[in-house]
Amino acid sequence: MKWAMIFGITILTALILWYELPKINQNQKKDKYVLIALSAMSWVLAVLLLFFPNMPGPTELVDQIYKPLGKLLE
């Protein structure tokens, strides 16, 4: 099942790339790299979340930082 999900995620990422890449001006190398990098990031995060759904996320990080203040409102 998980492999099917990875396949789905890959297809989705590929679809985005396939749709957007041809539209970028040939001279804009940076744009292309950004698009590929962002897509790669999404792919990696999606796969990570698939295997470790309980991985501590940004909310936990923020919560840790602001906990002393947040306690004031508990």
Binding site: W18, L21, P22, Q26
Partner: protein, 405 residues
């Protein structure tokens, strides 16, 4: 990146194909057609033993309902049936109930919740949670206690409506007795000082009586159940309940009959309430708590069974005074039972004091149970008879017997 280049038409085709594929995949998880659901109208909860409750539901029979509309409301057989199951909690009983039915139970249209008398005595809080937590249910859901088993009450088949649920709804909309929705009940139970009150419904046992169809019995409002915390501790009968409505400013229909003096004998005049307003005025003087009940009621005469000629304003004055006494008497009945015997504040005195004496309330709320029975009640009742109805003199009384002075 020319390899990515695909002719425009095939691209459009691809998008269409993808959308079709997607639409096949998504949107089926929560699909539930009208003919897959069993619509619950009334819910009854009964006490079985320490661990178990019985959940009964009144469910609409779809064909019956449809048939009736087609035939212009024949008002014949019942259009609902009752099914029940036992379980340790409401949710547990529900799942057992679901196994007995071919359709998915749907609570979105549930209108009534009936609590069996025995269960009410054991405590109701834990069962109410089900209604506030389940996404389908609404908080506007009439709640009442049944005399006897809730299951029997929702199984009763009335004369006028074709389901018990419809009767409950009509009676509640009528506003003859207390009207309590799930929201109101939760508010009453949430307060840490007041008690709760729920209307009691009763269903007459089928007696062979002329003018009534066999096997039909009419649920009717028979009084008020008084709760302390979430347990029922007493009942008020119909007459006493009326007084409660006066105090809570919830009275909408009332017919008061007063005795009038007339040369030795007494006659009777009946008045119908048009509108009334009750105001609670709390007072704390020298650490003595008292409450002024200020009631203003407007009435019309609907029957004059005496020989008084109501064209005389003095008689109207007299009737007004009698009326005031009658109302006070009714209220005193409930005060005696609720304030002195049950000692539960279902008069909303707590809120009234909280609003007017915020500071004193902070300390008083801890021992409100002791303060409440000691509160002295003062009555300021003003009744106004606005119209003598549509006839002036008592009808069909010979002129010489009329009393006009």
């Amino acid at each position: 990146m020319n390899s990515f280049h695909i002719p425009k038409i095939s691209k459009t085709l691809l998008v269409i194909l993808l959308s079709i594929l997607l639409s096949l995949v998504i949107g089926c998880w929560d699909r539930r057609e009208i003919n897959d659901i069993a619509i619950v109208l009334s819910t009854g909860i009964d006490y079985i033993n320490e661990d178990e409750i019985e959940l009964s539901v009144e469910i609409v029979m779809p064909e019956e309902m449809a048939g009736h509309i087609g035939e212009g409301g024949r008002g014949g057989d019942r259009s609902t049936f009752v099914e029940s199951a036992t379980g340790v909690t409401m949710a547990d009983a529900r799942s057992k109930l679901q196994q007995k039915l071919s359709r998915f139970l749907f609570w979105g249209h549930a209108e009534n919740t009936v609590i069996g008398e025995k269960l009410a005595e054991k405590g109701i809080r834990e069962h109410l949670d089900f209604f506030s937590r389940m996404p389908e249910t609404r908080l506007r859901n009439w709640v009442f206690v049944s005399e006897g088993k809730a299951k029997d009450l929702i199984s009763s088949l009335p004369h006028l409506e074709n389901s018990a649920a419809a009767t409950f709804i009509e009676l509640s909309e009528f506003q003859i007795g207390m009207n309590v929705t799930m929201k109101d009940l939760m508010q009453m139970l949430k307060s840490d000082t007041g008690g709760a009150a729920l209307p009691i419904f009763e269903s007459l046992p089928p007696k062979k009586e002329k003018g009534k169809l066999e096997g039909r019995f009419q649920p009717y409002l028979s009084g008020t159940a008084v709760f302390k915390d979430d347990k029922m501790i007493g009942k008020l009968n119909d007459e006493v309940s009326r007084g409660l409505l006066w105090i809570r400013d919830e009275i909408h229909y009332a017919t008061v009959t007063v005795d009038v003096e007339e040369e030795g004998a007494t006659g009777k005049v009946s008045l119908e309430l048009i509108r009334s307003h009750t105001e609670l005025i709390p007072k704390i003087k020298n650490n003595k708590w008292s409450m002024i009940l200020k009631i203003y009621a407007e009435d019309d005469v609907i029957q004059n069974a005496s020989h008084l000629d109501l064209r005389n304003p003095d008689f109207i004055k007299m009737i007004e005074t009698k009326m005031e006494e009658a109302i006070e008497e009714r209220i005193k009945l409930v005060v005696e039972q609720v304030q002195k015997q049950m000692k539960v504040d279902i008069f909303n005195f707590n809120e009234s004091f909280q609003r007017h004496y915020t500071k004193e309330w902070q300390t008083a709320k801890k021992n409100w149970d002791e303060i409440f029975p000691e509160i002295e009640i003062e009555y300021i009742i003003e009744a106004a008879v606005l119209r003598p109805g549509t006839s002036t003199t008592p009808s069909a009384v010979p002129e010489r017997e009329l009393k006009d002075e």
